[in-house]
Structure formats: C-alpha cells, structure tokens
Symmetry: C2
Subunit: 478 residues, 2 copies
C-alpha cells in the first residue's frame, strides 16, 4: 500500500528527517502535571466550576489517571463535584479499588446509567466486580436489551474468552461477493445510525450453521474487486477460540500468532463473538503484573488502597515469612553451644544464607517467567534443572574461594575459610536445583508458581545454609 | 454491525450455548508435545527426511517454539537438516540467544536471503542484533531497495518509535471522497500484486505537506457512502507519535488510549510511518519481562544460554550481593562480645533482618510497578512514602507483639522479647519508607528503579536490622 503521490513518497517519508543514532527520547506522554496541579488547586480552594471546566475536556483515560493521582479525600471531592461531566468510559479505565470507591460516591443509579452506555464487554467487566446486591440493583435499572447481553456475558466463566469478547460480529454468508458485502455494510450502517463508532478489523465468513469458515481483513476486502467472492479472499487458517478458553491461553495465542482479532466459537462450533487485541493487551498486562506482585510477596496491587487495607493484605505473607524465619532460627538454636565457642560463626552465617537465597531467586525468576510464557515445559524441565545444578555449582566454587579467603583473613583461621567455602558450594548447588524445581513442581500440582515459590525457596536456602555452615563448623572447628 | 440474517443472530449467538459459571478451561494452545517428541525421535535416529516432513507444515511461530525446546545440540542438528524448509518469519520469532546460534549455523548468506524476505520492521529488528561485520555482510547481500529501507530503519535511535514503525502507510489527500479512496486502493492493489498480504487498519488523511490531519478506521470507511469526503468521517483526535519517542512511551500511549495503530511523524510533523499494536505488544512483553528479571537479580533472560554464559552473567549480581552481605556481617562483628554473653541474640537476629527485607520488598515491588505504569509520579510520591511509613509501623507493632511473645517464651526472657519487639518495629518502619523511597529516588536520577532497588533495600534492612537488634540487646540485656 502506498501514498497516492507515488513519486515523492519516499523522499517525504525520510528525506527531510535526520536523526543521530543515539538513545530514544523520553518525552512526557501521560497527563501533564500542570493539569493535575490546577485541579488540585481548584479542589483546595473550593472552585467547583473551575474543577468541572478542567475535567470536562479531558480524554477519559487521562481523567481516570488524574483521579488516581489524588488522595482518597481528593478523589471523593472530585467525583462529587464533577462526576456528571465524565464520560462512561472513564469508569471502565479506573483501577478496581478506585472504582469501588467511585461506585459508593456516585451511587448505584448513576452507575446503572453509566453501565448502560458502555460497550457490552466493558459493561460486563464493570458489573462483574460489583457486590451481589449492587449487581442486582444496577442490572434491574438497565434497559432489558442491554441487560440480557450483560447477563449473557456474565454467564461465561470468569477469566474466560466469553468475558473478553464482543458479541456483535460482522458476518457474511459464503456465497456473497466483495461488492455485496460492502453494500450491505453501507445500508446497514445507514439504518442503524450508531454502528459507525464500533470499530472492527475482520469480517467473518460463516456457513449456514453459523460456523466460521474464514476471515477477511478489511484491508484485503477494500483492495479486492467488487465481483470477487468472499471465499476467494478469506484466510482459512484462522485460530478459533473456544468460548470457555482461559484468558491466559487467549493471550498466548494472540501473542504467538500476532493476531489482531479472532472469532470465538461455542460448543457446536458456532460463532458467538470476536476477541480483539485491545482486550488482550489488558490481559497481558494483568498477567505480567500478577507475576511481579506475587514474586514480591503481594496478593494485589495496593497502590490505591487505604493504609489499613494494605496492612491487612500484606500481613498474611509476612506471617508466613515469620514462620519460616523462626524455623531457620530453630536450626541456629540447635548449634548454640557451637556459636558460644566460635562466635565468628554467628558473624558469618548470614552470608551463606543470603548468597543461597539470591542465587536461588535468580533461578526461580527465570523458571517462573519461562513457565508463564510456555518456554519451560515437561520437554525441557529436566535439562533446565540440570543446567541450574551446573551453574549453581560453578558459582558456588567461585564464591567459596572468594569468601573462604575473606573469612581466613578476617578471623585468621584457614579452617573457618574452609567451613564457609564448603557451606557456600553446598548451599548454592541446592539453591540452583530447588530454584528451578520448586516452580516446575508447583505448576504440575496446579498451583501458580509465582505465588508460593519464593517462600519455599528461602526456607530451603536458610535452613540448609545455617545447618550446613554451623554443622561443618561444629565438626571442623570444635 | 451485524449478521446479514438479522432475525436469528442473537439466538444463533447465544441460544444454543449454555455454560456453567465455573472456572475457565485450561486447554493446550502451544505446539503439541507429540510433535516435539516426534521431532526429537527423528533427530535421534538420524531420519533427516522425516525431520523435514515434520517441520515443513508447522506455522513459523510453532516451529520457533519447537526449536527452542531442544537442547543446544538438538537445535544445531535441526537447523542443519531443515533450515531451508522454514519460513523467513521463523527467524524473527526466535529468542535472541537462539537466533545468534542460528545465524552461526545457517551462515550469513542464508541470513541475507531470509532478511530480504522479511517485512522491513522485522528485518530491522533482526539486523540490529547482528555483530558489525555480520551486519555489513548481510546488508551488502540484500537488494538495494530493501537495503535502503533497512538502513533507514537502523538510522533511528535504538528502542525508538522509528524502529517499530512500518514505512508503508496508506495515505489520501484531504479532498478525496470515500469512493475515490476505495477505487484507488483497488487499482493500486491490482497493479502491485503483493500488497494484498500487507494488513493495515487505518487510512491517514494528509495535507499537501504530508502532515497527518486525521485517521479513518477501515470499518468506518466501509460503512460510509461513496460520495462522502474523507475529511467528514476522519478522527481528528488521533495521537501522533514522534519518530524518536522511546518505545516504552509508545507502549504507554497505546495501552492508555487502547490504540490499534498510530501515525509516526518526523521533525517537521510529516508522516513517516505507522506503528501497529502487534509491534507494541512485543514491547509491553519485553518491558514487563525486564522488570521481573531485574527484580530477580538477572540482567537478561538466560533460559537458552549455555551454562557457562549463565554463570558469568549471574556472577556480577551475586558479587554485589556478597559485598552487602559482608557489610552486614561487619555490623554483627562489632557486637561479638554481646553475642558471646547472650547467644540467643545470634539465634534470633536473622528474623529481624528477614522480616525487614520482606516488608521492604513488598513496598518496593508496588513502587517499581507503579513507576513503570506512570501511576506513581512526583504528584503522589510523598503521599505514598507516608502511607508506607504507616503500613510498616502498624505491621511492625503487630509482629513486635507476636515475635516478642515467642522470644519471651522460647528463651524465658521478657527483656529479650522487648529487644526483638523494638527492633522489629524500627526495622519494618525503615523498610517501608526506604522500599518506597529508593525506587522513586533512582527514577529521578535516571536509573531504572527495577535494576538496583533491591540491593540497596536489603543492604538497609540487613544493616539496620542487625545493628538495632544487637545494639538494643547490648543496652538492655548486658
């Protein structure tokens, strides 16, 4: 495809632009800080009209970001003053915690109005997060046609393709031509005025049983002559998504195949909807976010939660960690008399545990990520564990010499150097193997490997680290 | 938009499909293990022809995944036997480490042939990773027209919009109608046969200086009548991407605005290309991956690297960690005589450090993630640090009572309980504040907060943890 002014396209495209091959430029792309500050000032000085004037022209995504930058009080104030100048999509963009707050502030009737104006997939996503009584209230207040569609969306399993898809799909029968298809789209759009804003990228060709038999990218339709049959230009190797497929699998497919949209089919292979990439991008984001948070010992993104809720949600993980730390201490307690004789062991023991923990975390991170991207499977699991054993062993030996030397010099005891060197090798070997094996094992047992891997790992590296180091100390130094 | 058989669309779409509202289904979406095993077996038994027959029908993305599942030897064998049955896009899908291997195995002439057949943006991505002499060899062997385009792509800064974009954009002048646009696309496609496979989603309306003034989604073009002017139906609030914009900012824009494609402009506001969402999905993936890896103490995804390369790349981080561990030990060393008198201090001291480290990591993870998604900025930084101080304080007090009680009972010493309780509160307060403040500070200094945050944090929580606990122990117990 190309510019109509064929001759001067290339020069126009590149001739006048010269860039030194340096680092890409970091520019400001979010909402300008000036706007945020102006809103904060207007809120602080009670200029309600000014707040409304500032918010009204903002894109809904920017308005949502702006709200999230404010304190909890500021958020309440802003919504009370300006909620009626915000577009319905504004609420679809909000973080869950903030949206819950917003629902309380604007009230369920306003929520129902908002939901009724959203696209069905956004509406489903909004409604599914509401409490049961809120859900009922909101659905009851929505016009019947929309309500039915939303309820149908909600009937699909959580996190399934059915929740992600749009139900309105442009389909054509297999005997149509390009011309008929375009004419039909024009007439239909003229009849149902609102359709024009609904953007789609592919047309699905269906058989009489409404099963998809091919898809045509719009760019291909536009570049074909009117008499050409749709079956002549359709792609047949499209991927069909079962309506109950897990959203992570959907994301994997879109990513692996660089899809922009894909037809969703029900139990009898009939077309029930279409998933487009913009919905999948959110899933990809969520997935990566979940892994990052779980590896960091968090159940959820608590940036916008009140301090007390954050404290509660983090307590559980810290409590589990306390238990494992006490277990490690019990191991140390077993060697109290050894430590009384050679206090240098107490000084050096955290080093062994810490190096094991860090080496293990490196391995664990690679394994958790590779499991998430399906790069680590039963086919190569054993090979990876073997490799990590080797890597842990080599680094263990290197650090054994390094730290052994330091300990020898520090406490003028070659034997102490030997003890810490041996302990280092053993702990780093075990850290490498368990760092790879724990996530693989958890995945097989159906547990999210990002969730619990690190607590198991540090338990192993702490317990083994202290036990081996102090045990060798008792044997060699006493 | 809707199905031509208007009457029975809804029933067809939903009537016949009933799903219990349970968990979404995990199905197998990657390459089937059977195929992988069949290839491994054929490689092992030297059936070269069978290997080629198995590989040839695979989608290039599946073929790339399959190669990556093999051991280094298996990869070499497979490429030697079957590289000529694989599509050029196969190489674009490979992980960097594996692609480097592949380049060595198939040779630079075969690489040049492959690159010449790729889309320009994929070709640029392939070539930019090659060594300087390889790059020269490959570019010299490519036909001049393609070479020029690839070199132009390479002239943009690394990780910039210019590297992501496609140069071929469908543009129309502002005085054209829908009919003229469609006719032009048809004629043009008929003239240049290959264009049909190139998929695009928007048409850009440009002024005489080739500056974009609006964009039209194809679905809108198709639903408009032929005499309508393109300026009547174009969106004007499109986002223009400067060609030197950093790819992370591009990804942020696409995500925030749910874009599918966006025009890229050069220094004088002229259109130079178009970025589509499939390229941005890769950037989003990479970004999240980088954060996960850096937080886990890794410089790169080393799943496919040889054990010796992995060992080397992980050594650096472990060495830095050793230095901080030695620093923490030096703090303990300062209190040797205290420990000799009260050996219980040695038993309990890892608990204080560990709880501080974990509480700090939770805070740090939230902060690093929020900085990456631009949810944490100068506007709300102080408020977040304040919140983390509060959260750290409350959890500190809770765990102080818990652990204080445990220590009292374990060693029958209420004073020891007091010491560990106080130390816990202080260390968790400091962990909360530094966990939030370190990434914010690094971001301001232009350092990637995911890179160095955790090493600073654990240094703080270890040093403070040991110092406060042993110091209080010396004051209160001796």
């Amino acid at each position: 495809m190309t510019d109509p002014n064929q001759e001067d396209r290339r020069p126009l495209a590149f001739g006048s632009v010269e860039f030194p091959n340096t680092k890409a430029k970091k520019t400001h792309v979010g909402i300008p800080p000036d706007t945020v500050n102006a809103v904060i000032e207007a809120l602080g000085t009670g200029q309600d009209q000014r707040v409304r004037e500032l918010m009204a022209p903002l894109h809904f995504a920017d308005a949502a970001d702006l709200l999230e930058f404010l304190s909890a009080d500021g958020r309440r104030q802003l919504l009370e003053i300006a909620h009626d100048v915000l577009e319905p999509e504004f609420y679809a963009e909000l973080d869950e915690t903030v949206r819950d707050e917003a629902v309380d502030i604007i009230g369920l009737d306003a929520v129902a109005e908002t939901v009724a104006e959203l696209d069905i997939d956004d509406a489903v996503e909004f409604v599914e997060e509401l409490e049961a009584y809120e859900k009922k209230h909101v659905l009851d207040a929505i016009p019947a046609a929309d309500r039915t569609l939303i309820e149908q969306g909600l009937s699909y399993p959580e996190d399934s393709a059915g929740r992600l898809m749009q139900c309105d799909v442009m389909t054509v029968p297999e005997f149509w031509s390009v011309g008929e298809t375009i004419d039909y789209m024009r007439t239909n759009a003229a009849r149902t005025d609102t359709e024009l804003t609904n953007i789609f990228y592919d047309i699905v060709v269906v058989d009489p049983k409404h099963k998809p038999i091919g898809a045509i990218p719009l760019s291909m339709l536009l570049q074909s002559k009117r008499p050409v049959l749709v079956t002549k230009i359709m792609h047949q190797e499209m991927r069909l998504i079962p309506v109950d497929m897990d959203q992570e699998e959907v994301a994997f497919l879109f990513r692996q195949r660089d899809l922009v949209s894909a037809p969703v089919v029900g139990s009898h292979g009939r077309l029930v909807g279409m998933i487009t990439i913009d919905d999948v991008v959110d899933v990809i984001d969520e997935e990566a976010e979940d892994d990052i948070l779980l590896l960091g010992g968090l159940q959820e993104d608590d940036l916008y939660a009140a301090a007390i809720d954050t404290t509660k949600s983090r307590f559980t993980w810290l409590f589990v960690n306390l238990m494992t730390a006490i277990l490690a201490s019990a191991v140390i307690g077993f060697f109290q008399s050894t430590i009384e004789h050679v206090v240098a062991l107490a000084v050096l023991m955290p080093i062994v545990a810490s190096m094991g923990g860090n080496a293990g975390t490196q391995t664990l991170t690679v394994a958790v990520r590779a499991l998430a991207t399906k790069e680590l499977t039963s086919t190569n699991a054993l090979r990876q564990i073997g490799k990590e054993f080797l890597v842990g062993g080599i680094n263990g030996i290197l650090f054994a010499f390094l730290m052994g030397g330091v300990a020898w010099l520090w406490f003028s005891s070659p034997k102490l150097g030997l003890v810490i060197g041996l302990a280092m090798i053993i702990n780093m070997l075990i850290a490498g193997v368990t760092g790879a094996a724990i996530p693989i094992f958890l995945e097989r047992k159906g547990v999210d490997p990002a969730l619990a891997s690190s607590v198991f790992l540090t338990t192993v590296t702490d317990v083994v680290g202290f036990f081996v180091f102090l045990g060798l100390g008792a044997m060699i130094l006493l």
